[in-house]
Symmetry: C2
Subunit: 174 residues, 2 copies
């Protein structure tokens, strides 16, 4: 079970990046994303709509307080991993993290409260360079799932890989 | 030599995503990014500013026509890889692509002209699910560079990995 916690979503400013965080989470093996910050129904809808069309059971939800979420997942024995450029290199810690069957992955937006660093089991960097939470999360999820690729059952739309061009297959709706 | 071509940047709408594309490119081993679409000096400045502060020789530039760029790089014997959810799975092609010392990686924004698919040597998908060009590019660059991590010489700011909290070291300016 892999749950993503996206901190401090802001209407307008973060809409597209938060969408990318959600869709990348789904595509790369997470089971759920929780957004905190501004409530944004359109954001949740757009991600849940992709799940409906492209299959699988990924869900996007909103909750208000990040600290309560962290504490709840701690009680549920999740390994809590905060992705930050200031953290320890992924390669040094990934084998330890992989031992957990349940992982909560935290990605911030602009400013992350200091407490997040302390409540997390691991603060992990994907390079110690400034870049992108979408990039860090994607590489982290890829390393976490290894060669195992997520399946997306009950898809209405499926993409058939092509050397050139596009091929999408649509199942007849019931 | 790894060059990124970001197609069709749009002012306002793409500003943050295009910044993430640029910074992730730099952090994950590319040498240069070329933006097409709307000219956006602030975007270029913000990325080149990160290079100045955090070291290395990564450059962000703007050029107007994507087709000319593709043809120029083709003449320079670059292997041209277009990242798209419609393409062939990365894992099937990465060993072939790795044989090239020079790679041009293309990432689109909203709509990618059909010709891009045909002019590219490879159309590559990082999952056949809708997600994020930042995610796809990051995972592609990570696979391309393998365990080799990019060095960033002459950095003014360096981040020292920490288990908890932040540590940034600043070199005295000359």
């Amino acid at each position: 079970m892999i749950v993503i916690l996206r901190l401090g979503h802001r209407l307008k400013r973060d809409e597209r990046l938060s969408t990318h965080v959600g869709l990348a989470s789904r595509a790369l093996g997470a089971d759920k994303i929780i957004y905190t910050g501004d409530k944004d129904d359109k954001l949740l809808e757009s991600i849940n709509d992709v799940s409906q069309r492209f299959g699988g059971s990924f869900k996007a939800t909103y909750e208000s307080g990040w600290k309560k979420i962290m504490n709840d997942y701690k009680k549920k024995k999740y390994c809590i991993v905060h992705l930050t450029m200031y953290g320890m290199p992924l390669k040094n810690k990934i084998s330890k993290i992989k031992k957990s069957k349940k992982v909560l992955v935290i990605v911030g937006s602009e400013k992350v409260p200091g407490e997040v660093y302390h409540l997390s089991d691991y603060n992990i960097s994907v390079t110690n360079q400034p870049h992108s939470e979408v990039a860090a999360l994607s590489i982290f999820l890829k390393e976490l799932s290894g060669k195992k690729e997520k399946k997306f059952p009950k898809a209405r739309l499926r993409i058939i890989p092509q050397e050139k061009g596009k091929k999408v297959v649509e199942k007849g709706r019931k």
